[in-house]
Amino acid sequence: MKLRAGVLAAAFAMVAPAAMAQQGTLRVGMAAQDMGRLDPHFAVSTIDRVPMPWVFNGLVRFPPGSIDAAAIEPDLAERWETSADGRTWTFHLRRGVRFHGNYGELTADDVVFSLRKAANAQTSAFSADLRAIETVEAVDPYTVRIVLKENVPNLLGILTNYAGGFIVSRRAVEERGDGFNRAPIGTGPFALERVTPNQSAEFVANPAYFRGAPQIARISYRFIPSDASRDLAFQNRELDLNYGRSDQTWVNRVRQQQGVTVDVFEPAELAIINVNVTQPPFNDIRVRQALAMAVNRAEMVRWRGQDTSREGQSLVPRGYLGFTADNGLLPHDLNRARALLAEAGYPNGLTVRVVHTQLPEMLAAMQVIQQQLRRAGITLDLQVVEHATFHQQIRQNLSPLVYYSAARFPIADIYLTQFYHSRSIVGTPTAVTNFSHCGMADAEIDAARVSTDRAEQLRLWAAAQRKLVENVCGIPLIETLLVFARRDNVDYGYQLRGSLSLGPQITEASRLR
């Protein structure tokens, strides 16, 4: 590790004049005990995802502070073209982009290696996202050609600075093997200097960054699992950025501190109760409808907070490409819910055993739901288990209702495929997170994925949502936004409206005042 730091230091010393303007250490407090994996293709938890765009680039990127798929812009690729049938894409790389340390210039070989690695289930957690890629090849050192098995709604989305789209140094991966997880090499504005287990990860500015040397010299990314201690450290000015809690009380309290701004941004996590339509009593649509009408979303928003949450309106989060609120979502109506239950043969209500996690935020939300359903005569017998156990048991169909909260790449296809396509039903070899066992919208989801006509695509996604909502495969609850507190000395250099890495991007333009 010391040797690597030395090599980095030596490499950066060569471009010292560019580094002259850098100053200060940005101190970031995160709610985690330690980092997991820093290989971007295995970075699945929030603590691992946040620093990924600091270290790595994609062929294309979302502009900093945005998750608008329509605004995707060049990153490592300076331009690209597509064939008439939309299946062949040719990307032309920027010249002179250098990897951290002595790992040389980025070439098409690194891009081909990275995308093949990201598409391989043995070497990536995001292989399913790149399933549509048939071949990736280097045409010349600065040109990459991607051929698709079929048209996909947004290939550029897959190739952004997110998940499987990050480009790594082939030589570093091959040299370091498993060690790449803790010593990653990318082309981003910051390079990892070291990880001290249970304490922090330290990043240093990459003065050779192709968009210009970062203005911040270092980032100290600190792991502080206790919310109370992290808040105290932030209040004590030992942190500049603090991972926040998505609740109104926290936001109000932090906003009262002087010189502090609370940023609330996308993507929102949509919480849904997924209903297993194959298990009694929920194989009766009247019971599912009663369940849907017993839920009071407005009350949930009042409970969670107006600034950090909003009502779920569909089985796809708001703002995702393909989202529609015109889907037949049942309104809150307790009398109708009781009547439906009586019609279904449960005039005295019913009791359902539900497996749920002990994670405080999720447990509290489920307890609110529990109270709401009780008013309609539905009693949830919550079996509270440890979080990893919860994840295992819900994948074994041990719970007919599954509360699940998630944010995905902002295109309806990803959400619909992972949660409501029959290929993703839990318990099957291709399972992802379809807990409802619904497959009635497969045709629309599949057709939309390969459609080259955007209007048709939107129509198909809307039709899929209507089918799934009307069949009560899931009940949307609330969408919870991300929250970070920032001292006013931190200037991101852009307006933070969204970040797919789940934390603020620190770019070459970010600075400490």
Partner: protein, 313 residues
């Protein structure tokens, strides 16, 4: 002495083997899938199965057990399933922090607990005794996540004497000392409360013995009676409790580490449990067990120093 130490170390071998076996079984009985933790919730079942194969988790239980035990006996605890880093390296990085905290808390516990216990015993049922008993009860009842936050609020936020983030630079002794004070106070005061009660009780018992009465009848000064005759005989149960408590300190420091943002073994073990990092859990349990064996051994040796009859036996 050497034979005594060797005998105790040999006796620890079956204990370690039993711990290895129990730990191996327990971590696999607990539901939860490390592959899901590593790959996240967007991974397909196929990808999770592929990772389980790569990690050797699809092997028959006995094969996994044999691999684990044979590697452990050669000092190879493998690598963390989550981070991929060698377990000994991960533990080595945080062990000094745990040792700092344990030693500082123990010293504080003994330095405060023993004199207060003696003082309370010498003033049995008096105001001092009642105050000591009440305070020790308070110390035992106050959980560290409450006392820790209060300490941080007072000494960190208001008086700014100590930092809230307590991860010290191991190469800087001053920094280590500065950052161990508050957590050691939080943890050490609970220990002090416990030791106060034990010392008081042992001293009361000792001071009621015939040899104390004889010493006083012979005109031995009271100070000498207390410190030499009374305390020496009362010290065996105190040493026992300190030895036991050090074991508890090593294991129970997790809350202190979390509240004060200190790295340490406790924090690693909680993380490994949450992430179903079997390899890390197994390695940590063996290391914990080894530390407890060492602490017990030192306690036994201290018995011999304090009471020659133990050595002879």
């Amino acid at each position: 002495m050497i034979w005594f130490v060797a005998k105790r170390l040999l006796a620890a071998v079956p204990t370690l083997l039993a711990v290895l076996t129990v730990v191996f079984i327990i971590v696999r009985i607990v539901p939860g899938d490390p592959a899901l933790v590593i790959l996240g919730d967007q991974a397909t079942a196929e990808a999770a199965a592929a990772l389980r194969t790569r990690l050797g988790l699809d092997q028959p239980m006995w094969v996994q057990y044999w691999t684990f035990v044979s590697n452990a006996l050669t000092g190879n605890f493998g690598a963390s399933l989550v981070t991929g880093r060698p377990i000994l390296e991960e533990v080595g990085a945080v062990l000094p922090h745990t040792i700092d905290l344990t030693l500082a808390s123990m010293v504080l516990g003994v330095v405060v607990g023993v004199p207060v216990g003696i003082w309370a015993a010498l003033h049995r049922n008096g105001a001092i005794d009642v105050a000591a008993r009440l305070l020790s009860l308070l110390g035992l009842s106050f959980p560290v996540f409450v006392s820790g936050i209060y300490l941080l609020l007072l000494f960190g936020l208001y008086w700014r004497l100590f930092p809230v983030i307590g991860n010290a630079d191991l190469s800087d002794f001053g920094d280590r000392l500065h950052k161990v004070v508050l957590p050691a106070v939080a943890l050490g005061l609970t220990m002090a409360a416990y030791i106060t009660r034990v010392t008081r009780s042992a001293m009361l018992h000792s001071l009621g013995e015939d040899y104390i009465r004889t010493a006083r009848a012979k005109g031995v000064p009271w100070r000498r009676v207390v410190w030499v005759h009374g305390l020496r005989n009362a010290s065996l149960p105190v040493v026992t409790v300190v030895g036991l408590y050090v074991g508890i300190l090593i294991g129970n420091s997790v809350l202190t580490e979390i509240v004060f943002n200190r790295p340490g073994l406790g924090k690693i073990i909680v993380g490994a449990l949450n992430q179903r990092d079997y390899a890390m859990l197994q390695g940590l349990m063996v290391i914990y067990c080894f530390l407890i064996v060492v602490v017990n051994l030192v306690t036994d040796l201290l018995y011999g120093v304090m009471d020659p009859r133990v050595k002879q036996a």
